[in-house]
């Protein structure tokens, strides 16, 4: 990374947060925002308790329960039926009281998936550092924040010191230019990117997304792209703040107000990458080459256009890669050469920190309107937050979806990872707007195909993977 001369957005945010540089280059990096949830925090609070430590800056910390919450029935923690889930939620509520951490209760309309509510409440601001014990923290990079997931030991480290010990990452630029095709969305962009650079392509890098295709995305679309940076192996994703960002943040609950907002914008305008700044790796994509995408295998990089076919592992020369492809074909119960659109599906999941925003629900409802969910298909729509749910209901989207036979649920991470009762049963095949298709991710022996909200809705109404361009 550059410390003098033209600098990237990442170089600038990094430099402005270094508290101390240790002799081997490891940095003590200051953290502006610590987002806490129930799954990765209990052992960190316990660590503080054992060492007799307090939170250094509870006023830079905010907690919410999102992974274990039921999406139907009572949302009162004491009513959660699965005992271990209930204990995790109740432990969070006890810990936030004991340590004085600001908390958004489950029954508060602002409750939701931590990566949905950060931007939505104006907690995620350009030029800041944001961490959370969750890999999809990369989402908040959509607003020009350096945001990354950390483990529980690091959660405890931030709680105790408001800093992290970090080594600088390399800069990667992914430039997408041109007009996105009909029926394509941010999800298709990021799936195409991962297909191109592979799931390890971003290892050791922070990815900055640039180009007019990215600029044209709204904040929801930018969140979808940055969210899946981690699926490409990157430490974080970044999109330079611009007028779209400022307009989005103005007036949000935790964003600066009045004169402070104008001062903040003046600072944020200094953040974009300088002309001539150095990127270690540069990747270019043309938006016109991107079609609606769908994953066929058990890594997000195993992806093809919906018009494509299941690849043949025997075409792969490398023995190790061939074995992995073979295993994926078997796990997913596919035949090489099979058309993706010939695959029938059992479950549709629309939601998650990747695609649980109001724009995503609008896209699904536009396809669902006037149609019916196919016989034998269960289709869940799980808004990313209480505010998203309320907005959708104000727009009448819930009615459109319910009339089409979709289930309209309460906010939670839900079937993205099945920590609440929403899971695939063994052998079920899903069309899911979430971020991971790993073996067993949505339930033991479940089979996941990742796609956009419009494509998921199209699959719901036809009962098989479908090119949404044929429906709209």
């Amino acid at each position: 990374m550059s410390t003098s001369g033209p600098r990237t957005l990442f170089d600038k945010i990094w430099a402005s947060h270094v508290v101390e540089r240790l002799p081997d280059g490891t940095c003590i990096l200051y953290i502006d925002r610590h987002l806490v949830h129930e799954v990765t925090s209990p052992q960190a609070f316990e660590g503080l308790r054992m060492a007799g430590r307090k939170l250094r800056r509870p006023d830079m910390t905010i907690a919410v329960a999102d992974h274990n919450i039921p999406t139907v029935g009572s949302r009162i923690p004491a009513d959660i039926k699965e005992e271990d889930s209930r204990i995790q939620v109740e432990t969070l509520e006890k810990n936030v009281k004991e340590f004085g951490v600001p908390y958004i209760p489950i029954l508060d309309v602002r409750q939701g998936i931590v990566h949905i509510i950060g931007p939505e409440l104006g907690l995620s601001l350009p030029g800041t550092t944001i961490v959370c014990g969750d890999s999809h923290t990369s989402t908040h990079g959509a607003l020009g924040a350096l945001a990354f997931g950390i483990g529980t030991s690091e959660v405890e480290h931030v709680m105790a010191t408001q800093t992290l010990l970090q080594n600088p990452a390399k800069n990667m630029q992914i430039d997408v230019s041109g007009t996105l095709g009909f029926g394509c969305s941010a999800k298709d962009i990021v799936l195409a990117i991962i297909g191109k650079i592979t799931t390890a392509g971003g290892n050791g890098h922070v990815i900055e997304y640039t180009g007019d295709t990215i600029r044209a995305l709204d904040i929801a679309g930018r969140c979808t792209v940055s969210n899946m940076s981690i699926e490409a192996g990157a430490k974080a994703g970044l999109i330079a703040p611009d007028q779209t960002t400022f307009d989005y943040l103005r007036g949000r609950e935790f964003a600066p107000k009045g004169d402070d907002f104008e001062r903040a914008v003046a600072y944020w305008k200094t953040l974009p990458t300088d002309a001539g700044a150095h990127y270690d790796t540069i990747v270019r994509l043309s938006a016109s080459d991107i079609a609606p995408m769908v994953t066929w295998g058990t890594t997000p990089g195993a992806v093809v256009p919906v018009t494509g076919v299941v690849p043949n592992p025997m075409d792969e020369p490398d023995e190790g890669k061939r074995a992995q492809l073979q295993r994926m074909v078997e796990y997913m119960a596919l035949t090489p050469g099979q058309h993706m659109t010939d695959l029938g599906i059992d479950v549709v999941f629309i939601g998650s920190c990747t695609n649980g925003r109001i724009e995503d629900i609008r896209a699904a409802a536009a396809v669902a309107k006037g149609r019916r969910v196919a016989a034998g298909v269960q289709a869940l729509v799980v808004p990313g937050s209480g505010l998203v749910k309320r907005q959708a209901e104000e727009e009448g989207l819930d009615r459109i979806l319910l009339e089409a036979g979709f289930e309209w649920r309460d906010p939670c991470c839900s079937m993205c990872l099945g920590m609440n009762p929403d899971k695939l049963t063994p052998g079920q095949r899903s069309a899911s707007t979430s971020n991971r298709n790993f073996e067993g991710r949505q339930g033991p022996n479940g089979r996941t195909h990742l796609l956009s909200p419009a494509m998921a809705a199209a699959a719901a109404v036809t009962g098989r993977l479908t090119d949404v361009r044929q429906l709209v």
């Binding site: 483990g151 480290h157 799931t199 192996g233 890594t299 190790g320």
Partner: protein, 206 residues
């Protein structure tokens, strides 16, 4: 955290790419508020069938690899979630080192915090070490962190890279928080500057 100095141990070969954290420990086992006891769920989908019986073809269900303390794998080990339950499960099973061509960043970090040493070596070297593991129960690999070498059963030494700070912490079993708090005054002055320069940065307290 236990210090890591030298280790001579059985190594289990897992020649797969993208061994993700959902394979290492699925999400349904994350509903614990403790760090301990996760070893029984390590690699659950690979290790056990749907009735909970061991799958005999999985390497850690075979002798002598049941006692393995080292895993040797292919590219992108630990990709996926940030769950520290992954290194907790590995450690609880007895794993103290993982050798692979590369690791997912968060997993790599999490391992050090728990006294598990992740070692990056080129794919060809990993394949050589994987071949070594097939020589039976006496084929042990040695890792000497102070000298930064992996020693093959035939005595050949292979050097590896590691950051000086991480090496020091591992060799001495040092807790990161304690080390950072030695710089407490610097954090105080950073915060004072920040409050003066960016007063618009709001509090999370409602």
């Amino acid at each position: 955290m236990d210090a890591f100095t030298t280790l001579t141990a059985i190594a289990a070969p897992m020649p797969m790419q993208n061994i993700d954290t959902d394979k290492i420990i699925p999400a349904r086992f994350l509903k614990t508020i403790k760090r301990s006891g996760l070893g029984i769920h390590l690699f659950d989908p690979l290790r056990f069938d749907k009735d909970g019986n061991e799958k005999p073809d999985f390497i850690l269900n075979q002798e002598p690899y049941r006692k393995a303390q080292v895993i040797i794998a292919h590219e992108n080990f630990g990709c996926g979630s940030s769950r520290e339950h992954a290194p907790w499960a590995l450690l609880d099973f007895g794993i103290r080192a993982i050798i692979a061509p590369d690791f997912a960043d968060i997993f790599y970090n999490n391992s050090f915090k728990n006294g598990i040493l992740p070692i990056r070596l080129p794919r060809a070297v990993c394949d050589q070490l994987i071949d070594d593991t097939k020589m039976g129960g006496n084929a042990r690999v040695t890792i000497d962190l102070a000298r930064q070498v992996v020693i093959r059963p035939n005595g050949e030494e292979i050097g590896f890279e590691i950051d000086a700070f991480r090496k020091h912490s591992m060799l001495n079993g040092l807790d990161d928080i304690g080390q950072t708090l030695q710089h407490d005054k610097k954090i105080d002055s950073f915060e004072a500057d920040r409050a003066a320069n960016q007063p618009w940065l709001p509090s999370t307290a409602a």
